[in-house]
């Protein structure tokens, strides 16, 4: 019984991180959103105290590198102090977003914070009731990128019941995250460790059950790419070495993407009904919704480009945004057109055919240059990803369909 431990594994708090894709959130809700990463931190502290865990593992990216604020540092410090009062230890490493914290830090952490301040893997021993019980291994980023595989540096400390590793990185050959301490899952599994606490990837995932190799994901969603509940894992380990892993939500505001089939929807009131029903079905929580309407009909396309759908969203948002568990639709997009008469039209009508064939060879530079190369605007605009370009092209096609054929009546 004495050797049983419980801890929280979290990562990627990204305190004070900016949010993406927010363009139509009302001011009072945006105020809440701005606080949400701190609220998630408060929730983490409350959970740790409530569960009376032995320690917390924070696997990198506590802060966001964009522009650091003293406020964020202080909030984290206060959280640490609260945990110190509750007798909870914190094992902390910095990641690619807060690597500069390792070198330049003006805040003196309380004694319960055990920082891995080296870029080499080191070990710290957690003692329970004066007895050494857990060896916790980890490292921090000193630069923005760590390109080498750190797996070999993780060496178990002998004569301790538990070995836990903290690693902020991503699996090798991952396209998007190549420069972040790449590792092979098999290497981790083969190490004599009881738990691999991973950070960096914001979508939580259990890569392996035995031994557990776990991404806890981030604690608060920040864009449509980070949807669903966000939080941490509450982990219990005992002598059987079988880890009990439970996800615990910490987010203050949830991002969600809904994909709604609207193939039978021709009129705005039908769409209202569908969206209204969908929103009623959602579990009560503070949410920011991104809605994809699939299999849309031409009528809906017309409504979309006439701004009627935007008006509808405003109406729906007004209904929900003053509730305590508010809900705000941030964006509605039409993504897949229903198999309709007009799609064949594109093949029939030479102009349309030609028009849409033209989308296969877009000279983006030419199209974008006016704004993207504008003297004042260019510093606020990034280049577009292929995905974004594809999306814009698709929307332009929709727009053209609407402009050229929308609002058509079939009869004379």
């Amino acid at each position: 019984m004495e050797k049983k431990i419980s801890f929280i594994h979290c990562a990627d708090l990204h305190l004070d991180s900016p949010f993406k894709g927010m363009s139509r959130l009302p001011a009072h809700l945006y105020q809440q959103l701005k606080r949400s990463t701190f609220d998630a931190l408060d929730n983490l502290v409350a959970l740790a105290i409530n569960k009376n865990v032995d320690f917390i593992l924070i696997v990198g990216d506590v802060f966001d590198e964009s522009i650091q604020s003293v406020y964020a540092e202080m909030q984290f410090l206060m959280a640490c102090q609260k945990l110190e009062q509750a007798g909870i230890e914190i094992y902390l490493s910095f990641g690619n977003h807060d690597y500069n914290q390792t070198k330049q830090r003006f805040v003196q952490f309380p004694d319960n914070v055990h920082l891995f301040d080296s870029d080499q893997v080191t070990s710290k021993v957690f003692k329970k009731n004066g007895k050494p019980l857990v060896a916790i291994h980890g490292f921090s980023y000193l630069e923005r990128a760590v390109t080498i595989n750190k797996t070999d540096q993780y060496q178990a400390v002998p004569n301790l019941p538990y070995q836990i590793a903290m690693l902020h990185g991503s699996i090798q050959q991952s396209k998007e995250h190549d420069h972040y301490a790449p590792f092979q899952l098999s290497d981790l599994i083969n190490k004599p460790f009881d738990y691999w606490a991973l950070g960096h990837i914001h979508k939580r995932a259990i890569l392996s059950e035995d031994p557990p190799v776990v991404y806890s994901g981030n604690t608060q969603g920040r864009s449509v790419k980070e949807v669903g509940k966000k939080g941490c894992y509450f982990v219990s380990l005992d002598q059987s070495k079988k880890a009990q892993i439970h996800f615990e939500a910490l987010h203050a505001i949830q991002f969600d993407q809904l994909t709604i089939d609207v193939r039978h929807c021709q009129q705005i009131d039908q769409l209202y009904q569908i969206l209204s029903d969908q929103m009623k079905q959602l579990e009560k929580a503070r949410r920011i919704l991104f809605i994809k309407l699939i299999n849309y009909q031409d009528a809906l396309l017309s409504l979309y480009h006439q701004g009627k759908i935007a008006d509808l969203i405003d109406v729906l948002n007004e209904q929900y945004q003053d509730q305590s568990d508010w809900l705000s639709i941030q964006q509605v997009t039409l993504t897949e057109q229903a198999k309709s008469i007009d799609t064949t039209l594109e093949a029939r009508d030479p102009f349309m055919k030609e028009l849409f064939q033209g989308f296969d060879s877009i000279d983006w530079d030419e199209v974008m240059s006016e704004l993207w190369h504008h003297r004042k605007a260019r510093r606020f605009l990034n280049g577009l990803t292929e995905e974004e370009k594809q999306q814009i092209a698709e929307e332009a096609k929709q727009l053209l369909r609407f402009q050229l054929t929308g609002n058509d009546t079939y009869e004379d």
């Binding site: 701005k34 003293v70 003006f106 008469i341 033209g358 814009i392």
Partner: protein, 977 residues
């Protein structure tokens, strides 16, 4: 697809109408205005593409019936049926194949190959002359023509272009200020500046943190200096404060020099001496008093002993007095005994008198009473009385019964006279029976009623007879008048009979009355006799009951007399037996003879009581005598023993005893006084001892004090004590001052406590204080400044820590940036759409126009009878030209109107053919050739023929003459409405 047959159930003006098109390539529908051409065309479109419910309302059959119908079409040489009905399945198409099998919903959609109503209208359903083209057909214009004939139409494309441009310009202008994106760029610029200003948050914070640390360090140093200076000032102020003490110390030290040190005097000697004296004084006083008391007590005791007698006499007196108590009690008893004896004697005499018996006390005491004597006497007496009483009662009863018997015998005799004998009784009963019979019989003979009935009967006979006679008398008259005499005879005869009969009647009545009177008399006599007999019988019955009762009473009386006689005999026998017992008792106790047995019952008890009384009196007399003897004995002894002490001559013995008692009491009182005095004496002697013991330590202590003070007496001791007190005070004061100095000025103590001469002056101390205070003020001021600086830095740090300004500005910046990016993407979408339209338009004109022109040239060549060979664009002029067969080129404004019409028709056909390549649907063409001459019709036909190879042509026209004899083939179909 070719239409084979049209069946209209109801559609506008058409009702139950069928048209057989036979699937011909060319079908001309001929009819004047208002004959229903347009409605028929609308019907075909309705079946193929449907109509909205609102629009269907327009075509509801005028005469009622269902709206709808069907088309039979040929596709790949197979027949299919397409049916739509207004109120069935929401007018959705229902399709069957030739076998009548229902086809899927999408079948029609597939067969139409995606062609919508709009597209169909653009391509297949057209008016040839609807093209309005200017006379100078430029490439752009022709491009527009192409676009206008396309599904979207040039207008739509241009409108779209315009909309997109407008939107783009409302969003962004490279040099603008108002468009949304331009405004956002401005805002972003501002926000970015703000962020830039604030983004040094952490370095600034660190700088302030360092500053704060420096100030804090300085504060600490200054505080230390201040503390040291403060200590100096405090020390100086203490010196100032304690300066009077220093002066006092020196003064006291000088005074102490006059006394030896140490001073020889016991500790607290004076107080102790005084205390001892105070303690001894009351003890000494008490000692004197106690001594005096002892002397007095001894004097009293001697005087008392003189008054007291010797102890032998005292014992004698006590014994006599003790015995005199029983002597006096015996005297009382003797008196009481005498009184009781007298009372007993009186009662005995009284009782003896009451008995009235000649018997003495001695005889009485000698009576031979045995066990049960009393009961025997009692028994005899009671029985004697009882039997005599019973005897008397029984005798009385017997006498009474005898008297009653005599009286009853007399009554019995009287009653017996009133009662009938049995013979008399029987005789009377027989007579009565006979009388009853006699009365009954007289009543049963002929009664008056019977006589009346007889008389009535007789009268009836008379009437019948009279009637018969009358009838007989009349009958001869009726039969024949000749028989009148016979009638007269009969009548006379009849009258005679009647009269005779009346006489007999009167006789019978008289006889009956006589018999009645006699009979009544006899009955009356019988009734009276019967009444007498009844009275006699009643009287007999009444007395006979009383007689029987009396007879029973007499018998009972006789029985009672017999019983009483027997009882009397038995009582007398018992009396005789009792007399024997009486005699026996009287012989035993002769005194009983003086008494009748009635008085015996209580005699025994009374005699017994009397005997008991005599015995008790005799006992008392004996006891009294004993007591008298004891008294005499005691008196003699006292008189002998106390002869010298008391005068027995003049005093009675009782008075002498009283005198003796008084003497005894006095002696006892004297003895008690002696004991009390002795006790008090002993107590006082003990107290004297205690006092002596108490006084001893005091005296020892006083002696010791005197010795320690080295003096002889008390006076000298007190003088020495005063000197010591002064010395002690000075010593104490000196020590107090030294302590004060040591405590408050530990550093200066050695200097200050040296005796003789002042170590420092007061003025020098005051000077030092002033200097120190000046320094302190300066330091304090500096410390406050530093502290303020620390607080300022702390406030700045706190502000940084709590400030969300950067957080907010940063978020707002990113929010704005996000919005800007989003809007930029929106702009890009529009921009892309616009660019694509523009590009397509350009390409369209370049790529497709030649194809259409080539086809149009082909038709134009045909329609103009090969006069014109070719259509082409003059690249130089950017205009369309026509080339004649002779190779001459003309601009369009050089052509006649007719030729231009032909040209436009050619272009229209070319465009339609070009557009229709993907769907072989029928062309529905309105008559546009009204003003064409015959040759041109022919050409039109040729062109149509070109088309009908692939498409069915349904041509709606006003006049049948148009195509009559105009060379159209026979296999084409003409339908006249």
């Amino acid at each position: 697809m070719k239409i084979k047959r049209i069946d209209i159930y109801g559609f506008g003006k058409w009702q139950d109408k069928s048209f057989d098109l036979e699937g011909k390539g060319f079908v001309a529908i001929i009819g004047d205005n208002e004959t229903g051409k347009t409605t028929l065309r609308a019907f075909i479109l309705f079946i193929l593409f449907g109509l909205s419910p609102q629009k269907r309302q327009r075509y509801l059959p005028k005469q009622g019936g269902k709206l709808g119908g069907r088309l039979v079409v040929i596709i790949d040489d197979k027949d299919y049926t397409i049916e739509r009905i207004h109120d069935r399945n929401q007018a959705e198409p229902v399709c069957y194949n030739a076998n009548g099998q229902l086809l899927s919903k999408d079948w029609l959609f597939t067969q139409l190959n995606g062609v919508t109503r709009a597209l169909f209208d653009q391509i297949f359903n057209f008016d040839v002359l609807s093209l309005q083209i200017g006379e100078q057909l430029t490439r752009d214009q022709l491009g527009q023509v192409l676009l206008s004939v396309g599904m979207t139409g040039s207008d739509r494309i241009y409108q779209a272009e315009k909309n997109l441009k407008q939107h783009i310009q409302s969003q962004f202008k490279p040099q603008g200020r108002k468009p949304q994106l331009n405004q956002m760029i401005e805002l972003l610029d501002e926000q970015a500046d703000k962020v830039k200003q604030l983004e040094d948050d952490i370095p600034v914070y660190i700088r302030h943190q360092q500053l704060k640390r420096e100030y804090q360090k300085q504060v600490e140093q200054t505080e230390q200096e201040l503390q040291s200076l403060n200590s100096s000032l405090v020390a100086l102020k203490e010196q100032q404060r304690l300066y009077p003490s220093l002066e006092n110390y020196q003064l006291v030290s000088e005074q102490l020099n006059a006394y030896p040190d140490p001073f020889p005097f016991p500790e607290q000697g004076e107080a102790r001496f005084k205390q001892l004296k105070d303690g001894l004084q009351p003890l000494e006083a008490e000692y004197e008093v106690t001594l005096q008391k002892i002397t007095d007590l001894k004097t009293d005791l001697n005087a008392l002993q003189d008054k007291m007698t010797s102890s032998q006499i005292k014992q004698e007196i006590d014994q006599v007095l003790k015995q005199s108590q029983s002597y006096l009690e015996e005297r009382t008893w003797i008196k009481q005994h005498k009184q009781q004896i007298d009372e007993y004697t009186e009662e005995i005499n009284e009782r003896l008198d009451q008995l009235k018996l000649a018997i003495t006390e001695t005889e009485l005491l000698n009576l031979p009473f045995g066990y049960g004597t009393g009961e025997t006497w009692q028994h005899i007496s009671e029985r004697y009385v009882k039997f005599n009483e019973e005897k008397t009662i029984l005798q009385k009863n017997l006498t009474k019964l005898k008297e009653e018997h005599n009286k009853q015998s007399q009554d019995w005799q009287l009653l017996k006279d009133h009662i009938l004998t049995s013979f008399e009784l029987e005789t009377l009963k027989d007579e009565k029976d006979q009388l009853m019979d006699a009365i009954t019989q007289s009543k049963s003979s002929l009664s008056k009623e019977q006589l009346d009935q007889l008389a009535t009967k007789q009268r009836s006979v008379q009437y019948i007879l009279f009637a018969c006679l009358t009838l007989v008398a009349i009958s001869p008259l009726i039969i024949s008048f000749e028989w009148w005499w016979l009638s007269g005879f009969i009548m006379i005869l009849g009258t005679t009979v009647l009269i005779n009969n009346k006489r007999i009647e009167r006789h019978v009545l008289s006889m009956t009355q006589d018999w009645r009177d006699q009979h009544q008399k006899e009955i009356t006599a019988c009734i009276e006799r019967k009444k007498q007999i009844d009275d006699q019988l009643n009287e007999h019955h009444t007395y006979r009951d009383q007689f029987i009762l009396l007879e029973q009473v007499v018998e009972r009386n006789e029985t009672d007399q017999l019983k009483v006689g027997q009882q009397l005999d038995r009582v007398e026998q018992q009396l005789q037996i009792l007399d024997q017992s009486i005699d026996e008792q009287r012989s035993l106790f002769p005194l009983l003879k003086q008494l009748t047995p009635e008085r015996w019952s209580s005699l025994y008890d009374r005699l017994h009581t009397l005997i008991e009384l005599i015995k008790k009196r005799d006992q008392l007399m004996e006891h009294q005598q004993n007591l008298i003897d004891q008294q005499g004995e005691f008196e003699d002894r006292v008189q002998t023993g106390l002869a010298g002490m008391l005068d027995f001559q003049s005093l009675s013995f009782i008075d002498a005893l009283e005198e003796l008692k008084t003497i005894s009491i006095e002696q006892k009182k004297l003895l008690q006084q002696q004991e009390t005095l002795t006790e008090r004496l002993a107590y006082q002697e003990e107290a004297l001892k205690t006092l002596t013991a108490k006084m001893r330590p005091f005296q020892n202590e006083i002696n010791s004090l005197l010795e320690k003070a080295a003096v002889e007496d008390e006076e000298a001791f007190i003088g020495q004590a005063q000197a010591y007190e002064h010395w002690h005070q000075l010593k104490g004061k000196q020590m107090q001052l030294a302590q004060q100095i040591k405590l408050h000025l530990p550093e200066q103590q050695s200097e200050w406590l040296k005796i003789g001469g002042h170590p420092v002056s007061l003025s020098s101390i005051e000077d030092k204080i002033n200097t120190c205070q000046g320094q302190l003020e300066a330091l304090n001021e500096r410390l406050n400044q530093l502290r303020q600086q620390v607080a300022d830095q702390q406030a700045i740090l706190k502000q940084h820590e709590q400030s969300r300004q950067l957080v907010d500005v940063k978020h707002d910046y990113y929010y704005l940036k996000e919005s800007f990016e989003w809007n930029a993407k929106q702009w890009l979408t529009y921009q892309l759409a616009l660019k694509q339209i523009e590009k397509t338009k350009e390409k369209f004109q370049i790529s497709y126009l030649p194809t259409v022109l080539e086809k149009a040239s082909y038709y134009f060549n045909k329609v103009t009878g090969q006069n014109y060979q070719h259509l082409f664009f003059d690249d130089h002029e950017q205009r369309i030209h026509v080339l004649t067969a002779t190779g001459v080129s003309y601009q369009l404004d050089e052509l006649s109107q007719g030729t231009l019409d032909q040209l436009f028709i050619s272009i229209r056909f070319a465009i339609s053919e070009w557009l229709a390549i993907h769907a072989t649907l029928p062309f529905l063409i309105d008559d546009g050739f009204v003003h064409f001459d015959q040759n041109r019709y022919k050409v039109i036909y040729q062109m149509i023929k070109e088309l009908k190879g692939k498409h069915q042509i349904i041509f709606f026209t006003k006049s049948s003459e148009i195509f009559a004899n105009k060379g159209l083939a026979n296999q084409d179909k003409y339908i006249t409405l």
